[in-house]
């Protein structure tokens, strides 16, 4: 557990279970079902967080959902969330108009270990909306670019029009991030790679002996990714993954997000894969 940074939950709020009002100040549609929202705290100072943490976000009256923070942890700007509309709560959040007030609790959970992997080649491996929780890690890595070896982003999506943050990729590349994209299917106008994310790993150039991987995406994709990383020589103790379960309270009290002996909201969402592997082998979990 010592490998992870942490930020105390809700230090500017009356308590971690009390929602804080945040006003939606900007909204951008990223894909057919995904929006990026910028939220400003109605009271108190901007939310301090570490890359990889999440909040419990809600449009009032529709229930809370855990959403990873996708903004820059090193900037004092608005709280940024990228949300995919896949259910009642997320659809209500994505429907909100600029000026509306949403409720926020958090931030919660353990962060990506970006400050603890100096000198390593770092592979950021994302699938689908899994790039959203990794965006703050990418920004933090690039802010300290000189401290790392090679920085690679291997990112896959369903199709070219479903890829996130495409407007930022070039800027990231100019700052020293090697970007490789892939999609599951595409027409001939797409000149990039077609295939699954794990297939990019064998083609990537990095020093496997000390490399660290930060992985986020659908769980099946992450399992295949870890297997491909192992074939390339990256051990499970150097692979970190962000997990998703039924987080509700956010502070390890309710138990809904139990994963083996851990609670994802408190002990995750970012884990070393070596911590997770024994529990992921149990299908009922």
């Amino acid at each position: 557990m010592a490998m992870h940074a942490s930020v105390e939950a809700g230090t500017d709020t009356p308590g971690p279970m009390v929602p804080a009002p945040f006003t939606l100040v900007a909204k951008r549609q990223d894909t057919s079902d995904t929006w990026t929202l910028q939220l400003r705290a109605d009271t108190g100072s901007p939310l301090a967080f570490a890359p990889g943490q999440f909040t419990m976000l809600s449009a009032f009256g529709t229930g809370e959902v855990p959403i990873s923070i996708s903004g820059d942890a090193g900037a004092d700007g608005p709280l940024v969330h990228t949300v995919r509309a896949v259910g009642l709560a997320t659809e209500a959040i994505c429907r909100a108009d600029v000026g509306e007030v949403l409720s926020v609790r958090g931030p919660f959970g353990r962060a990506w270990p970006v400050a603890e992997i100096d000198g390593a080649d770092v592979l950021v491996i994302a699938g689908g909306i899994g790039l959203a929780p990794l965006r703050p890690a990418i920004l933090a890595l690039l802010a300290r670019r000189e401290r790392y070896g090679r920085l690679l982003l291997l990112y896959g999506g369903r199709s070219p029009d479903q890829l996130l943050y495409t407007g930022e990729l070039e800027a990231w590349a100019n700052r020293g991030l090697e970007v490789a994209l892939t999609v599951d299917s595409a027409g001939p106008e797409w000149l990039g790679h077609v295939g699954v994310v794990p297939r990019l790993i064998a083609r990537a150039h990095f020093d496997a002996a000390g490399a660290v991987a930060l992985v986020c995406g659908p769980e099946v994709m992450m399992r295949f990714t870890v297997a491909a990383l192992a074939r390339s020589g990256v051990g499970e103790e150097r692979i970190y993954a962000s997990m998703e379960r039924n987080m509700q309270c956010g502070i390890g009290h309710c138990g809904h997000c139990q994963l083996g002996p851990t609670l994802v909201c408190r002990d995750g969402p970012v884990y070393r894969w070596s911590e997770l592997a024994p529990w992921l082998a149990i299908r009922e979990l």
Partner: protein, 155 residues
């Protein structure tokens, strides 16, 4: 400048082969180049060759009526393009198109099949390697079929 044997020896699919075996394989190989957009082969055509990508990228495509060409997979440096030369009826199942200027080593399939028939140890070693590569591609295709980024109604 690398010889064909050196180029072949450096490819993952041929890793660990003995120098004499690499020499036999290189005897069936030539260097080739394709411009961006150029076809390496076309669905239904005779599968007489296969390719090792040295640089560039090759898209495997299938023409779907009303939808145009759909890209199934993209192959890059160090990867093998084409398995249909291995088995009858030796016809390509897909189109293969260079998506950028692409350098390959092109192998004569009949030549290599003949050498494998004559030297079963070479044939066994090659089939082991091709099978491993095909299994990796099959597993990736299965993951692709799962559509893991598709909709699942949640919160």
């Amino acid at each position: 400048m690398q010889t064909l044997e050196q180029l072949i020896a450096g490819a993952p699919v041929f890793a660990g082969l003995a120098p004499a075996q690499l020499q036999l394989i290189a005897g069936c190989a030539v260097n080739a180049r394709f411009d961006a957009g150029e076809l390496l082969f076309r669905e239904g055509g005779p599968a007489e060759r296969f390719f090792l990508v040295r640089a560039g990228a090759v898209a495997l495509e299938v023409e779907a009526p009303g939808r145009g060409a759909l890209v199934i997979e993209t192959l890059g440096e160090g990867e093998v393009v084409g398995w249909s030369w291995l088995f009858e009826p030796y016809r390509w199942q897909f189109d293969a198109r260079a998506t950028m200027p692409t350098a390959v080593v092109a192998f004569d399939g009949a030549c290599l099949r003949g050498k494998c028939d004559a030297d079963h140890e070479l044939g066994y070693q090659l089939m082991r390697r091709f099978a491993a590569s095909m299994i990796e591609r099959l597993q990736a295709t299965r993951l692709q079929l799962l559509d893991v980024y598709g909709h699942a109604r949640v919160g």
